[in-house]
Structure formats: structure tokens, C-alpha cells
């Protein structure tokens, strides 16, 4: 419980007459940033405490925020079911004045701002950008004489070759819900493309349209042929990653958050990302992705000005960005101020990831972040059914569409 967690906080800053900011953070690297920030700003004391999804799922965060005992700044999912709900409930501070003051509208990547905007107001700043695609073992590809596939047919040939060489071509830990969404959204992007997905999310598009069904069908075919590991529903995300690090599997569809684990423990291995080739001819092929989370300020924060200044320092100073990249291994949602000064401290894969973000085609949607929680539950369940060959692609998408219509009727769809 957050209330309890705040008793065991880490404090930064020692001087008297300080303004206290309670910061609920996710990555341990933030503690280094807090230390640096309070040294630079002796009038600020930061009381830091870790936050997890469970704090919100259990209702502890909401209770603490409503009672005025919660954090002043918190890192939460920039999704309608998380940040959106807190915003609509009036528990978050609208940040529009700070967007104007610090010019954040121009600093943050424009596509990242949709996820922190609810009812036309900004209720957070993006914390990091992530993209999702096949994450592959370059050594296995090299040993097998395989190249990154350019077409979807090449991709299927590649998977068959990997299988014939005794590797699990694609491993995915779909006993956990999130990896189901990651692989499914990649296939939907490859079959329906960003414009159709946008039409679905913000217009009158349908989950059970032929283009969406095609992506689901192709994905299920790969499972049927054991090109995506047939027993993927038996494995967790961690278990599936272990098969990747032990070179039993050649790739997984995951996001750039894996960099933290990879660079911490497996950086000697050679891994990379590639874009899943398009299934439909009229689609260019993109990574999917979006925001992992965002930072919001409590409506009851005592020093919202100071909170905003702290966030601006994190994203818009070279020191803040450097700490994000080198300690947190996360990609800032803003252009890097002086890439030449940080490049030498980055792993080549990080540099590659940052370069790929500049792709003019942009990034497709990781659907699970953009759909309301009521739909997300049905979405995850049905993808598991699809991957377990328990339901047809059409049935899977029909079921999601049904829940989507209910959510639309209840006004839960993000605008």
C-alpha cells in the first residue's frame, strides 16, 4: 500500500525550509536523478517511493490521492483505464499551463501526447517511448545464413528454416497477458496498417473487418505450424525470455523495454529488432508501440510548479536525458539534445533503436494501450484463445468487437 510505502521512503535533500515533493517512481535509476536534482536545487526535498501497477489495481493509489496522502508525482500507465480514469475522477492536476510555460507541446514527440490527453486536457507527460517488433538473435541468423526478411513470404521461409535447424522460431510468453497484445498488434499492423487501426480507435473501424481478421489468421497459422511456439500459453514472459537468452529460441515479439534486461545481463549476446514485414500489400510495415507510461501530478500536490520544473529538468536537460539513457536504458519521449555527447555511453542496440524511431513511416499502435480496460480484458482473453487454437480468428475479433461496441455505447472510447 502506498500509504505504508511512504513510511519506508528514500529521502533526497537535507537543507532546512525545503519544499517536499513525494515522487512515486518505477525504475531504480531515478534515485540517481533525485540525488543529482536535489544537489542542484537545495530548496527541494524528494521523498521517493517505488510504485507498481498493483498500487492502482488494489485501489491504494486512488485512496491515497483522494485523501491527499498520495504522491505528488507518480509514474502511471498512460492509458485510458489508468491515467484517464484518475484524470476523469479529478485526482490529477491538469498540466496545460506547464505545457505552455515549458513549451512541452513542441518538445515532446507529438504522437506521444495523445495518450496523456483526456477530455482535451493534458494530465501527464510521456515518460518514455517504446516500440515493439521481432527481437532476434543475430548470431543465430548469422550461423544459419539468414537475413532480415523483406516480405512476409520471406518471413515465413525464415521461420521454417529456423525450425528445421532445431530452434524455436518465435517464442512468446502468452501465459502473461501483455505479450499476447504485443504479438497480436504487430500482426494487425502488418495486415491492417496504421490508418485502419486509427480508424478503428478514433472512428468507425471494426475489429472484425477482413484486414484485422487476416492478421489474426496469419498469426494463428504460425502457431498451428509451430513457427510461433505452440505451447506459448504455458509460458510466462520471463520463462520465454530465458529460452531466448539460452539460444533455444531465435526471436520474440517484444518492446524496447527489454533493453534494460538485455544490457544488464546479456549484453555480450548480439540482438536486434526488425520490422515485421507487411502481410497486406497496401501497408508499409511499421513497429507498433507508444508510451509505456507517463508522469502525472496529483490534484492535491502542494507544489505543482516545482513538480513541473522537476519533470522539465528530467526530459529537457542533457543530464536528465543521459541518466534516462545510460542508467534507465529507456528512450526519452523528446529529441535528444546533443546525441554526440551521449552516444559513446550507449550500447549499439540503443543507438539503433533511437535511429529507428526516426523512421518517417512512424510507429503503429500497440492496441492494448489505447483501448479501455473493459475491452482490454476481453482482448487479452481472446488472443489467448486464438494462440491456443481454441477459437477462430473471426471469432476472436468478433468477440473483441462486441465488447468494443459496449465500451463505445458507454462513452469509454478514448477521444
Amino acid at each position: 500500500m502506498l500509504l505504508v510505502v511512504f513510511i519506508g521512503i528514500s529521502s533526497f535533500g537535507l537543507a532546512a525550509e525545503q519544499k517536499v515533493i513525494k515522487f512515486a517512481y518505477e525504475g531504480e535509476w531515478m534515485l540517481e536523478f533525485f540525488k543529482w536534482y536535489t544537489q542542484k536545487n537545495p530548496d527541494i526535498k524528494i521523498e521517493a517511493s517505488p510504485i507498481s501497477l498493483a498500487d492502482m489495481d488494489s485501489g491504494a493509489l486512488q485512496l491515497a490521492l483522494a485523501g491527499g496522502t498520495g504522491p505528488d508525482i507518480m509514474q502511471i500507465d498512460a492509458a485510458p483505464g489508468r491515467m484517464g480514469m484518475l484524470a476523469i475522477a479529478g485526482l490529477l492536476y491538469p498540466l496545460d499551463e506547464f505545457y505552455t510555460k515549458y513549451g512541452w507541446d513542441k518538445k515532446f514527440f507529438p504522437w506521444t501526447l495523445k495518450s496523456v490527453t483526456y477530455n482535451g486536457k493534458r494530465f501527464g507527460v510521456p515518460s518514455e517511448v517504446e516500440y515493439i517488433g521481432p527481437f532476434y538473435n543475430k548470431n543465430i541468423f548469422k550461423k544459419a545464413g539468414l537475413n532480415i526478411p523483406k516480405t512476409y513470404d520471406d518471413f515465413k521461409i525464415l521461420l521454417s528454416k529456423l525450425k528445421s535447424l532445431g530452434y524455436i522460431p518465435i517464442i512468446q510468453g502468452t501465459r502473461d497477458p501483455a505479450p499476447r497484445g504485443h504479438i497480436y498488434a504487430n500482426f494487425i499492423e502488418a495486415s491492417a496498417g496504421k490508418i485502419r487501426v486509427e480508424r478503428l480507435l478514433y472512428g468507425n473501424g471494426r475489429w472484425d473487418s477482413p484486414e484485422f481478421n487476416l492478421g489474426a489468421k496469419e498469426l494463428q497459422e504460425l502457431v498451428r505450424n509451430d513457427l510461433v511456439y505452440k505451447e506459448c500459453n504455458s509460458l510466462t514472459y520471463g520463462e520465454s525470455n530465458n529460452l531466448l537468452w539460452t539460444e533455444k529460441a531465435a526471436m520474440t515479439v517484444t518492446g524496447t523495454w527489454i533493453l534494460y534486461e538485455y544490457l544488464k545481463e546479456h549484453s555480450k549476446m548480439d540482438f536486434g529488432f526488425f520490422i515485421l514485414p507487411p502481410i497486406s500489400k497496401d501497408v508499409p510495415g511499421r513497429f507498433t508501440g507508444g508510451l509505456g507510461s507517463g508522469y502525472s501530478i496529483s490534484a492535491k500536490a502542494k507544489y505543482p510548479e516545482e513538480c513541473a520544473k522537476l519533470l522539465d529538468t528530467l526530459f529537457n536537460t542533457l543530464e536528465g536525458q543521459k541518466m534516462m539513457l545510460t542508467l534507465g536504458r529507456v528512450i526519452p519521449p523528446v529529441p535528444i539534445l546533443d546525441f554526440s555527447k551521449v552516444k559513446k555511453d550507449l550500447h549499439p542496440l540503443q543507438t539503433d533503436v533511437i535511429q529507428k524511431l526516426k523512421d518517417p513511416k512512424g510507429i503503429g499502435y500497440n492496441l492494448s494501450v489505447y483501448i479501455p480496460t473493459t475491452v482490454k480484458n476481453v482482448y487479452y482473453e481472446n488472443i489467448q484463445g486464438l494462440l491456443g487454437l481454441m477459437i477462430s480468428p473471426e471469432e476472436c475479433n468478433r468477440n473483441i468487437q462486441k465488447e468494443w461496441e459496449k465500451a463505445k455505447a458507454s462513452g469509454l472510447i478514448l477521444k
Binding site: D57, S58, G59, Q62, G81, M85, L86, I88, A89, G90, L91, T174, R175, D176, P177, K230, E231, C232, N233, S234, L235, T236, E239, L243, K248, T373, T374, K376, N377, E381, N382, Q384, G385, G388, M390, I391
Partner: protein, 297 residues
């Protein structure tokens, strides 16, 4: 004189109430109040965040009666109850009888066999998750080693096996507790009954059937009702191992309630489901105890 006694009694009652008070406060704050709140919330459409709650009457209950996932969860719960009762109670009774006949190292066996019950459900879920791992798990490795590799599968991802697999793991954790209860019951069996049975020419099986079982009837009633309630409210092991998957095949009432209220943020509907679950458990338990009492009577 009479007045004095009354005063004393009154005084005594007051003391009694004072002693009850702390427990009553805890009970009211942490049990009664949430229960009443749940009943009230079940008539609302509420996401758990918004300050505005929409009163919708019995709509949540109507929806529950037409919810196919609820039907499936209920069916799975019944399957869970049956498998659990057979596995954990069967194992518990068998081991209790065997241990009670041990003349040496009885307390050693009792402690060792009880030890799985001391593990937290999440740790048990992790251990068994590894045992069921499709590639490096103990079960599949064993099957492959003895030439039955074709039987190997992803147990926790299998629509047919997921629920049974979790139930086996749960029974492994649970049997120790019931075993200790049975052991206590067995200690109260009059040993002369066994002597009499032996004189009448009864064999071991007949002794068990006609002496042991009837003598521990009240223990069995207690153990059965405990196991029944535990099975109907089971959550942690299912959540830790499959989260109700794949595609609801191991969904039970508690995981459905949790998903509805906290993952889908449908707190009102979640409350309605949890109340229906509570009524079901209450009814089944009362019915069971009544039936047992009648048969004993």
C-alpha cells in the same frame, strides 16, 4: 440482596461487552462495513475511480445471469471442488491413517508431510509452474525419459489440463492441513474398538471402514466443510499459475470477480458477482452441514 446480584450481573455484562468491543470494532470496520458497501455498490455502475456512481438497480444481477463466462467459472469451480476434495482429502486421510500407525518417527513424517502447507500460495505456484514447464519441466522431462514423450504438453496452457494441473498443485499445498486435522481425529478413536474388531475377525480394510471412518465422522464433517469453502473461494493459486486462462478454461468465480472489478474496472458488477458467490458458498455450506447432521442423527 437480589438487587446486588443484578448489579453484579450488570457489571459483569458490561465487562463482557468491553472485552468484545475491540473485536467488534475490527469486525465492523473490516468485515461488516465492506460487506454492506459491496451490497450497495452492486446496484451501481461504477468504475472505482469516478466520484459519480450511477444507480442501475438490479441490472448487474440481470447481466450476471446471462453472462456465459460466469457460467463457465461456476462450472470450473464445481470441477475444482470435486477434484480438490478427492485429491487433498483423499491424500490427507490416507497419510493420516498411515502416520497414525507409525511407531517410529511419527512426528518427523507429520512435519515433513505438513511442510508444503507452510509455503505461500505464490511460491507454490512458482514451483509448480516450473514443474509444468513444457520444455524444461520435471513432468515433461520424466515423460520423455521413460518413452512417453507424446504425452508431454504445455500443461498450464492446455484447455483440457490447465484447471486440473492447478488443482493438483493446490491439493499438494492443502493436504497437510487436513492431514493434521485427521490425525487429531484419529487420536480420539477408542483403541478398544480396534481390539473388538480384531476379535470379530476384521481385516485392516474392514477396521478402517467400520471403525476408523465412523469414529472420525465429526472430523470428516469439519474437514469437508473447510475444504468445500476453501475450494469455492479459491483464488491465489489459480491467479498465480494461469490467471484463469487459457481463454477462461481455468477461470473460477474469484478470479472472475477480481478481473471484473480490478482489471476491467467494473466495480459494481464485480460486487454483484462477489455477493452471488458469497450467497452460493453460504447456501452450499449450510446445506452440506444440515445433510451431514441429518445422516448422523
Amino acid at each position: 440482596m437480589e438487587l446486588n446480584i443484578k448489579r453484579k450481573l450488570h457489571k459483569l455484562n458490561l465487562w463482557a461487552y468491553l472485552f468484545i468491543l475491540p473485536a467488534l470494532i475490527f469486525y465492523s470496520v473490516f468485515t461488516l462495513r465492506p460487506l454492506v458497501q459491496s451490497i450497495i455498490l452492486s446496484f451501481y455502475d461504477w468504475d472505482g475511480f469516478n466520484p459519480i456512481k450511477n444507480f442501475i438497480g438490479f441490472t448487474n444481477y440481470k447481466e450476471a445471469f446471462s453472462d456465459p463466462i460466469l457460467g463457465l467459472a461456476l462450472f470450473n469451480n464445481i470441477k475444482w471442488v470435486i477434484i480438490s476434495l478427492i485429491l487433498s482429502l483423499g491424500t490427507a486421510l490416507l497419510l493420516a491413517v498411515l502416520i497414525s500407525r507409525c511407531t517410529i518417527a511419527q512426528s518427523f513424517f507429520r512435519s515433513v508431510l505438513f511442510s508444503p502447507n507452510m509455503l505461500s500460495p505464490m511460491i507454490t505456484a512458482l514451483i509448480w509452474g516450473r514443474i509444468y514447464d513444457p520444455l524444461i519441466g520435471l513432468i515433461n522431462t520424466l515423460l520423455k525419459t521413460i518413452g512417453y514423450g507424446y504425452l508431454a504438453k504445455g500443461w498450464l496452457g492446455s484447455p483440457e489440463w490447465a484447471l486440473i494441473a492447478v488443482c493438483i498443485a493446490n491439493s499438494w499445498r492443502a493436504y497437510g492441513y487436513y492431514m493434521v486435522l485427521y490425525l487429531a481425529g484419529l487420536q480420539s478413536v477408542d483403541p478398544t474398538l480396534y481390539d473388538a474388531a480384531k476379535v470379530d475377525g476384521a481385516n485392516g480394510w474392514q477396521e478402517f471402514l467400520y471403525v476408523t471412518l465412523p469414529s472420525i465422522r465429526s472430523t470428516t464433517t469439519l474437514v469437508l466443510s473447510l475444504a468445500l469453502i476453501n475450494s469455492l473461494i479459491t483464488f491465489d493459486m489459480v491467479w498465480g499459475m494461469t490467471q484463469g486462462g487459457p481463454f477462461h478454461r481455468s477461470e473460477v468465480l474469484s478470479t472472475l470477480v477480481y478481473k471484473t472489478a480490478f482489471a476491467s474496472n467494473r466495480v459494481g458488477y464485480g460486487c454483484a458477482l462477489s455477493l452471488m458467490q458469497a450467497i452460493l458458498i453460504f447456501t452450499i455450506t449450510i446445506l452440506f452441514i444440515r445433510i451431514r447432521e441429518r445422516s448422523e442423527g
